[in-house]
Amino acid sequence: MNRADVIATDSAPRPAWQMYRAMVGVGVVCALLIVAVYLATLDVIARNQVEALERAVLEVVPGAVRFAQRDDLGQPVYAAFDAAGALAGIALEAQGMGYQDTVRILYGYDPAREQVVGLRVLQSRETPGLGDRVETDAAFRANFAALDVRLAPDGAGLLHPVQLVKPGEKTQAWQIDAISGATITSSAVARMLAASAAQWVPILHARRAEFVAPKEATDGD
């Protein structure tokens, strides 16, 4: 490492403008490079994001083949339709604090069956091997295949709030079995789903007739 010091000190001090010239020059070249790559990849990245959203929506609403986004309800909701154009379910996002950081999920709600029919983790930084089992554990994911979110008779809230129980103690269709070893993350997922369902299921159920398949999409996109 002495060599660097030797080189640094054996030349006479340089005028400052040479240093400015070098740094500004390199800065300009680097800036141009970044802008060029940004512009070149912009379209591909935007397309990837749309595709990722599409995959997620179609995954949480089984049987859906296409979806339409609706933005006028306060948060984006994605109405998903089956091949015949009938409403297969509505997907929406929820988020909450996990063990490490905010966890974002997307879940599908089927107004006809009054059930949550699928759930997918969009973003999480949970501990690999423990908390991230909410994404991979088949038994935990099975909780969301047909989770009961029936409305109370007055239509203002859920008949049974979504509830987290200890692993293996699920006896009712509105309960979620936690994962042992991932208690905090599985309870976080259950909590954000419970809060989101309590707020949105009454709204979406009351307005379910408004979600119709867009005409232009029927000729296949």
Binding site: S11, C30, T41, G129, G181
Partner: protein, 213 residues
């Protein structure tokens, strides 16, 4: 270490990084990604390739500009160059796969502070011509990728029973979850270093009569 400037053949610029001066197993540089993102083989491989890409490009540019950069501001300039290529890699990974970008997370940006890259820019690229600098970056990058892939494969195999996401161990195998947790990174690195030092010690012992040190 490893900064002596004898006149080595060009092939040696490439090959030294793969094994004899492997950045991870011998120089122990860039430990942050080595320990943090190697919880699966695919993560290790992608991180290695991203680092390789940044290393080759930054070595190239540093070598091209080595006479134009005053010594006083060289480190700042190198960091600027490295950071730009890291940003480029970040966009490229997003374009290739958002899933991959998600699983590598913050560690892509942290390639900027990987001391391996600044180390090669300062110790090699700023003192040699472009072709040797490219070979050096390629060799060091491949050595780094190889090391991350080894770490990732071992940890994924023991920690999840899979390799590149494909189940290879029988269901009866109970995965050692600790191997995909941060602690598993230290265990794996320690075990691999033990193995490699042992092999090198044996080779050195058998080579002494022929080679004059």
């Amino acid at each position: 270490m490893a900064i002596e400037q004898r006149d080595a053949p060009a092939a040696d610029d490439l090959l030294k990084g793969l094994w004899r001066e492997n950045p991870v197993f011998v120089q122990l540089l860039g430990m942050c990604p080595v320990l943090a993102v190697t919880n699966s083989a695919i993560n290790g491989l992608s991180m290695g390739i991203a680092t390789l890409f940044v290393l080759v490009l930054s070595n190239t540019l540093v070598s091209l500009l080595r006479r134009a950069i005053p010594r006083e501001v060289r480190i700042a300039t190198f960091i600027l160059i490295i950071a730009s290529f890291v940003t480029v890699v970040d966009y490229l990974i997003q374009a290739v796969s958002l899933e991959l970008h998600k699983s590598l997370g913050a560690f892509i940006s942290l390639i900027v502070v990987n001391c391996l890259i600044l180390g090669r820019a300062e110790a090699f690229a700023s003192r040699h011509g472009v072709s040797r600098a490219v070979l050096d970056g390629l060799g060091m990058g491949l050595g780094f990728t190889f090391a991350l892939l080894c770490m990732g494969a071992v940890r994924e195999l023991l920690g999840s029973g899979t390799l590149f996401g494909v189940a290879v161990l029988p269901d009866a195998f109970q995965p050692w979850v600790v191997m995909v947790l941060p602690g598993g990174g230290f265990f794996t690195l320690g075990a691999l270093l033990l193995l490699i030092n042992h092999m090198q010690a044996r080779r050195a012992a058998s080579a002494i009569p022929v080679e004059q040190a």
